[in-house]
C-alpha cells in the first residue's frame, strides 16, 4: 500500500535525483565553467588545510601527516610559554596598528592629490615616481634604507648634521626601528596602493561634480563632500582587507633591516618563527604559530566586517 502510494507520487513528481539530472543536463555548460575554479579551490586552498593538523602533531616528513602522532596543544603551549613569542606578538600588533594608522590613509591622500592634478604630463610623471618603489625588490629597498640612514654617509644624518644634530646609528636603535620600517613600507607601497582609489575616483559620475559646481562648491568641498564619500565603500573594503592581513607584516623587509640590537621592537611573529624554524625544520611548530596567526586574522576580519556592515552598510560578505 505504502509502496504503491509512493510509486504513484514519484510518477507525478520526479524524484530529487531525476530533477538534479535534468538540471545538470540543461545547465551543464555553466557547471563546466565553474569546474576549474572549484578544482583550483580544492587543490590549492582546501587540500593544504588537511596539512594544518600537523600543528597538533609531532610531525615527521618521513611518516607523513597521517602517520605522525597527535600531541594536542603542546606546540601552542610551548609557544605561549615563550616570552619572545609574546614580545613578537606585541610587536606585530603595534607595528600593524601603526602601519594601518599611517600607512592606510596615505594612498587615499595620494589618489586624491593625483585626482586634483590637471597637468597630464606632471600627473603621469608623479605617478610613475611613486609607483616605482613597488617594483623594486625588497633587497634593494633595504639597501637604500640602510644607506640613507647610515651614520657616516647617509642622507638623513647629513641633513641632521646641517642642524647641528649628532649623527644617529638609526638601525641599531630600537626606538627608531618602527618609524623606519613603517616609513619604508609607505614609501614602497603607498603609490601602488593608490591605484585602486584612483580607479574608484574615476568611477564617480562627473555630473556629481558639475552639479556641485553649479551649486557653488569649490574643489576642497567637492573632495570632502563628493569624492571621499563616493569612494568610501572602496576605502572600507580595503580597510577590512588590511585588517585581515594585519599580522602579515612584511617579514622579508624586517629580516633585511633588523639586528639583534633592535629585536626588542622589530621582532614579529613571522621573524620569530623563522628563527625558531632555523633549527632543523620544525614544521609542526611553525604550523602552530601560523595557525594562531590565521585564527587571529580571521577574528579581526570578522569583527571589522560586522562593524562595517552595521554602521556603514558596506561589507565584504
Amino acid at each position: 500500500m505504502t509502496a504503491g502510494t509512493s510509486k504513484l507520487i514519484s510518477r507525478q513528481k520526479p524524484t530529487r535525483l531525476a530533477r538534479i539530472t535534468q538540471h545538470l543536463k540543461r545547465e551543464w555548460q555553466l557547471y563546466l565553467m565553474l569546474l576549474p575554479t572549484v578544482i583550483w579551490l580544492l587543490v590549492f586552498l582546501y587540500k593544504p588545510m588537511y596539512g594544518l593538523q600537523i600543528a597538533f602533531k609531532d610531525y615527521s616528513v618521513f611518516r607523513g601527516v597521517a602517520g605522525s602522532p597527535w600531541i594536542g596543544f603542546e606546540h601552542f603551549h610551548i609557544l605561549f610559554e615563550n616570552d619572545q613569542f609574546l614580545r613578537a606578538l606585541k610587536n606585530t600588533v603595534i607595528m600593524s596598528a601603526y602601519g594601518l594608522l599611517f600607512g592606510f590613509p596615505i594612498p587615499i591622500l595620494l589618489a586624491l592629490m593625483f585626482n586634483e592634478v590637471l597637468n597630464q604630463f606632471f600627473k603621469k610623471t608623479a605617478q610613475t615616481i611613486v609607483y616605482l618603489p613597488h617594483f623594486i625588490s625588497s633587497v634593494i629597498i633595504a639597501g637604500i634604507v640602510i644607506t640613507s640612514f647610515s651614520p657616516s654617509a647617509g642622507i638623513v644624518n647629513t641633513i641632521l648634521g646641517w642642524f647641528g644634530v649628532d649623527s644617529i646609528y638609526f638601525l641599531t636603535k630600537p626606538e627608531w626601528f618602527r618609524p623606519i620600517f613603517i616609513g619604508t613600507g609607505i614609501w614602497q607601497e603607498a603609490g601602488f596602493q593608490s591605484i585602486v582609489y584612483l580607479a574608484a575616483i574615476a568611477g564617480v559620475s562627473p555630473t556629481l561634480y558639475e552639479s556641485a559646481v553649479v551649486d557653488g562648491a569649490n574643489r576642497w568641498q567637492m573632495m570632502w563632500k563628493i569624492t571621499i564619500p563616493s569612494i568610501m565603500t572602496t576605502i572600507i573594503i580595503m580597510l577590512i582587507i588590511r585588517i585581515g592581513n594585519i599580522l602579515e607584516i612584511s617579514f622579508e623587509m624586517i629580516i633585511l633591516l633588523y639586528q639583534p640590537a633592535t629585536y626588542e621592537t622589530a621582532d614579529v611573529v613571522n621573524t620569530f618563527i623563522y628563527r625558531q624554524g632555523l633549527q632543523g625544520g620544525q614544521y609542526d611548530f611553525a604550523a602552530a604559530a601560523g595557525l594562531f596567526n590565521a585564527v587571529v586574522a580571521f577574528i579581526l576580519v570578522m569583527t571589522a566586517n560586522t562593524i562595517s556592515k552595521r554602521y556603514s552598510r558596506t561589507s565584504l560578505w
Binding site: S205, D215, K225, P229
Partner: protein, 368 residues
C-alpha cells in the same frame, strides 16, 4: 529682469566648431525649450549658460549682467541633470540642502527650505531616505528640489526626463509645468523629445547642427515650420512629405506628382512659383479620409496597416510607393476607416517647401 540673453554664442573644441553662433533672448519667467536631434548642440549651449563649458565666442548675459567669465556658482542658475546627479551617500533632505550648505546658509533657513521644497514636490515622507531607496520619479523630484531650493534666477534642465518610463515622463512633464507656473522662474529646458517641447514650452527653439532653425511658440512651429527640418521634427507622427512640381491647374496652381495632383492655395506667390520643384508637407492630422478613390480631389493610397489607438487611429499607407501616414478620429468612423481608399486635403492645410532649399515658400500663414 531675470532674462537670459545669448548673442552669437560659439563653442569650438580645438578646430571643430560645434555651436555656430546662437542668438536667443529668453524673457523673464519664460519657459524656453531647446529641442533638436542628438548632436545638435543644444546641451552644449545649455552648459555654456550654466558655466560648465567655456564660451568660445559671443556674449552671454543673465539678468542683464554680462557673465561670460563669471563662475557657475555666481551666475545664480540651478541645473537639473539627466541622471539626477544625486549624491548616493546623502539622504533626500541632505541632497536638497547640499547647495545651501555649500553656501553656508543658517540651519533655520536650510530646515525651512527643505520643508517647503519637500511639500512642493511631495517628498516629505522620503526626506530621510537615500537615493538608492527611491523610485526614478522620486529621484527626479529630488533633483528638481535641489534646484528649487536655491531660488535661482534661472532653471536649466538638461533632458531631465529621459531616464524615466513613458508614463512617469508624462506625469513629471505636467509636474514641471505646474511648478513653473507656480514659481515663475525663467527656465531653459533641453530635450530631444518634441512632445516634451510642445507641451512644456512657452517658446521652442529648434536646433540643428549647431544652429537655430526656428524659434517660436509651439503652435507657430507646428503650423508654420520654416523649413522641412522643423516640419519633420515637430509633430507625431511627422509630417508627410511628397515631392511635386507646381503647375497651372484649372482653378489656379496645383501640385503635380505623377498622374496625381492637389490644389494649392491661389496666392500670387504660388502663381509666381509655377514650374518650381517643391516638397508638399501634409500633416497626418489634416487630411480627410475618403472611401471613394475616384472622387475628384481624392488622392488614392494603398493601405498597409491600421493601428487603432483608441479615440484615434494611425493609418499606414503608401502613396506612389512612399510611406504616407494618416491620423484620424475613430469614434463613429471605424467603417470609414476600414473602407479607406484615399484622402483629400484642404489647400490651406498644405505646407509648400522649395525642394532645393527646403525652405517654406513665403506668404503661407496658417492661423492658430
Amino acid at each position: 529682469m531675470s532674462g537670459v540673453s545669448l548673442q552669437g554664442l560659439v563653442k569650438t573644441y580645438g578646430d571643430i566648431q560645434v555651436v555656430h553662433g546662437i542668438d536667443l533672448e529668453v524673457q523673464e519667467k519664460e519657459f524656453v525649450v531647446l529641442v533638436g536631434p542628438s548632436g545638435c548642440g543644444k546641451s552644449t549651449t545649455l552648459r555654456m549658460i550654466a558655466g560648465l563649458e567655456e564660451i568660445s565666442d559671443g556674449d552671454l548675459s543673465i539678468d542683464g549682467r554680462f557673465v561670460n567669465n563669471v563662475a557657475p556658482k555666481d551666475r545664480d542658475v540651478a541645473m537639473v541633470f539627466q541622471n539626477y546627479a544625486l549624491y548616493p551617500h546623502l539622504n533626500v533632505a541632505e541632497n536638497i540642502a547640499f547647495g545651501l550648505r555649500i553656501r553656508r546658509e543658517s540651519k533655520a533657513v536650510i530646515d525651512a527650505s527643505i520643508k517647503e521644497v519637500g511639500e512642493i514636490l511631495g517628498l516629505t515622507p522620503y526626506l530621510g531616505r537615500r537615493p538608492a531607496d527611491l523610485s526614478g520619479g522620486q529621484r527626479q523630484r529630488v533633483a528638481m528640489g535641489r534646484a528649487i531650493v536655491r531660488r535661482p534666477k534661472v532653471f536649466l534642465f538638461d533632458e531631465p526626463l529621459s531616464n524615466l518610463d513613458a508614463k512617469l515622463r508624462t506625469q513629471m512633464r505636467a509636474e514641471i509645468k505646474r511648478l513653473h507656473n507656480r514659481l515663475g522662474v525663467t527656465s531653459i529646458y533641453v530635450t530631444h523629445d518634441q512632445v516634451e517641447a510642445m507641451t512644456l514650452a512657452d517658446r521652442i527653439v529648434v536646433m540643428h547642427d549647431g544652429r537655430i532653425e526656428q524659434t517660436g511658440t509651439p503652435m507657430e512651429l507646428f503650423l508654420n515650420p520654416v523649413n522641412t527640418f522643423v516640419a519633420g521634427f515637430l509633430g507625431s507622427p511627422p509630417m508627410n512629405m511628397i515631392n511635386a512640381r507646381i503647375e497651372s491647374g484649372d482653378n489656379g496652381p496645383i501640385a503635380r506628382f505623377g498622374e496625381l495632383s492637389l490644389a494649392l492655395v491661389d496666392t500670387p506667390t504660388m502663381r509666381d512659383a509655377i514650374g518650381t520643384d517643391i516638397t508638399l508637407g501634409i500633416r497626418p492630422e489634416f487630411v480627410t479620409v475618403s472611401t471613394q478613390a475616384d472622387t475628384h480631389g481624392t488622392i488614392p493610397v494603398d493601405v498597409e496597416l491600421i493601428e487603432t489607438l483608441g479615440s484615434e487611429a494611425l493609418i499606414h499607407a503608401t502613396l506612389q510607393g512612399e510611406p504616407f501616414i494618416i491620423r484620424a478620429g475613430t469614434v463613429g468612423q471605424m467603417d470609414v476607416l476600414n473602407g479607406i481608399s484615399g484622402f483629400s486635403v484642404e489647400p490651406n492645410l498644405i505646407r509648400v517647401f522649395d525642394a532645393k532649399t527646403g525652405m517654406a515658400l513665403p506668404d503661407q500663414v496658417m492661423k492658430q
